[in-house]
Every structure is written in C-alpha cells, then in structure tokens.
C-alpha cells in the first residue's frame, strides 16, 4: 500500500488514484530536499489586527463596541478589517492603536511597507526636480527621505 502511495496520487476531483506525473515527483523531491533554508524573507502581513485582538482576549463584537461601530453585523466589520478585505478609516486605525497600544505602522506593517518606499521614490523625484529653490535644508530632508525606506523594498 505504501508503494502505491509512493508513486500514485489520488485525484482531487474524481477521487481515483492516478499515476503521479514525473514532473510532480521531481517537484515533490525538490521541495522535500530544501533542508538548507535560506529563510527567504517575506513581507509583513497587511495588518496584525487579529493577532493583537487574540492576545488581548477580546472578541470581534467587543472590539467593534470599543471602536464605536454602529449598526448590525458589528463583528463582521472587524472581520473584514482583519482579513484584509478593507482598509479601515483613519479614525478606526487610530482607535485600533488606542485599543492595542501599538503604533499604526506596527498594526498595519504590510501597508506601511508598501507605502513607505513609494513615498521614498517620490522624494527622490522631488529631490532631482528643478524648481528653482535650492534650500539646503529641503534638499537634505528629501535626500534622507529618499534613502530612508530603501531597505523596505522586497
């Protein structure tokens, strides 16, 4: 039986056993032999609201109450925030910061990592844009801003 499952796989839809394609076998062996982990760095998740809520032992309904969500399906709105289905408004984001005691950019780490390099890229454009004002302070701020979030780019 074990040899059967070593070479054959059960088809997901039909439920019948079919020979595993050679290329898939190759993929399987490749995946399993990846012992030398280079720890490919992944970008942060869009938000960490769910993790923080669970650590605070609060329910979605309770968080909705704390946020001042009105209407029916209060917990559903929190669920949509946590599952990245929508980005909360600034008021809600600040309320999340107040509830969990963490800065917005930690709560919405993925979003921050996405936005910060874009700002840096625009700062670089602004730095090189000739607009007549060669204020050294402005140039210094722009150059720092252009370099600040360079390392965030994955």
């Amino acid at each position: 039986m074990s040899s059967r499952h070593g070479v054959f796989c059960k088809h997901a839809n039909s439920g019948k056993f079919a020979p595993l394609h050679q290329s898939l076998l190759h993929v399987y062996s490749l995946a399993l032999n990846s012992n030398e982990f280079d720890y490919s760095i992944m970008p942060s998740l869009p938000n960490y609201l769910r993790t923080n809520r669970k650590q605070s032992a609060l329910s979605q309904e309770e968080v909705a109450f704390l946020l001042g969500v009105k209407g029916l399906d209060k917990g559903g709105k929190i669920s949509r925030d946590e599952s990245y289905a929508r980005v909360p408004t600034l008021e809600f984001a600040l309320a999340y910061e107040a509830i969990y005691g963490k800065p917005i950019r930690e709560l919405f780490a993925g979003l921050y990592e996405q936005i910060a390099p874009e700002v840096s890229a625009r700062a670089k454009i602004l730095f090189y844009r000739k607009n007549g004002s060669a204020d050294p302070k402005r140039q210094q701020i722009l150059s720092e801003l252009a370099l600040r979030h360079k390392e965030l780019v994955v």
Binding site: M1, S2, R4, H5, C9, K10, A12, N13, G15, L20, L24, V27, Y28, L30, A31, L32, S34, N35, F37, Y39, S40, I41, M42, P43, S44, L45, Y48, R50, T51, K54, Q55, S83, Y84, R105, E106, A109, Y112, E113, R148, H149, E151, L152, V154
Partner: protein, 167 residues
C-alpha cells in the same frame, strides 16, 4: 524616525488529522494564529483548498509538516496522499517544506520517545500561555476520543520544534 525590523520569517505548521487539520502560524517566535479546520465530504480536496487559503492569507516562507513517511510512523493512506498533495501545493507556491518526525517531536518537547500528546500539549501551554493555556483540553481517558483541539497543539508543537532545531 527609527526604522522597525519589517521583514519577517513566517512559518506555517500543519498537522494533518482524520478530522481535518490543525495549523499554527508563527513569526519570529510569536504565534500569530493557531486553530483547527474540520473538513467533510471529499476530505483531501477540502483540506487542500483550505490550506491554499492559509497560504494566500499568511504568505509563509516555510511550511512544517509531520514526516508521515518516517520509520515507525503509521498514518492512513489518505493522510499520506494528502501530505503529498500539500507538499506539491507548497512547491508550486515556492514555499520551503520541512518535515519533522513524531519521534523528534516527542524528544524535543518531552525529552522522551514515549511521551504522550497530552504532556506535549501541557509543555506548549506553559511555553505560550497567552495563546494556548485556555485551549488546553482535559487529559483524554482511555474510552474517550481525542479532543479536536489537540490538532492545533500538534501544529504548534511542529513549529516550536522547527524553531528549536534551527536556533
């Protein structure tokens, strides 16, 4: 303005069981999420579908599974097939796969090959009290079935041992 350490190593551990699977997502030794999913009908295709959803949601860099082909490991043929399907799914998403045998799990968590799952769960509940202490099931009596929450502890055990072995 100081810069946060933004880039993370995220690990997803999945413990495949007869009911469905338990899962645990850990990022730099912090449990982001843990739980278990039940499946009905075509269990393997349902499990693969739900695991794929977890991949999309958490974007893990490493997937940790129990080594179902290890010596002395007796798992149902369906679980072995599902294991293979999950590995293929991970490979298609360029997620690295690490396998941990049950023997290694017991030695690392309890220090004894004959350690029980409940002892492992107790150890993990002490290690991660905020996340797990409230979910520790009572000790199973011989005439009882295994508690559904134990699947989640299996997954947490896998990810904890993975961290131990890499550090």
């Amino acid at each position: 303005m100081n810069q946060t350490a933004s880039k993370q190593i995220r690990i997803l551990a999945i413990a495949l069981t007869a009911r469905g699977f338990g899962y645990c997502v850990m990022e730099n030794q912090v449990i982001l999420e843990s739980g278990n999913k039940g499946v009905e009908g075509n269990k393997n295709s349902q499990s693969v579908y739900k695991i794929d959803k977890l991949f999309k949601q958490f974007l893990p860099s490493v997937l940790v599974l129990q080594d179902v082909n290890a010596a002395g490991c007796r798992r149902a043929p369906r679980i072995k097939t599902l294991h293979r399907q999950v590995v293929e799914l991970a490979a298609s998403r360029k997620i690295k796969v690490s396998l941990i045998s049950g023997k290694m799990l017991r030695i690392a968590l309890v220090g004894d090959v004959k350690g029980t799952k409940h002892e492992m769960a107790e150890f993990l509940a002490q290690k991660y009290p905020v996340e797990l202490a409230g979910k520790l099931p009572p000790k199973r009596r011989p005439w009882e079935n295994e508690d559904g929450r134990m699947d989640m502890f299996d997954a947490v055990g896998l990810v904890a041992v993975f961290w131990m072995s890499k550090n």
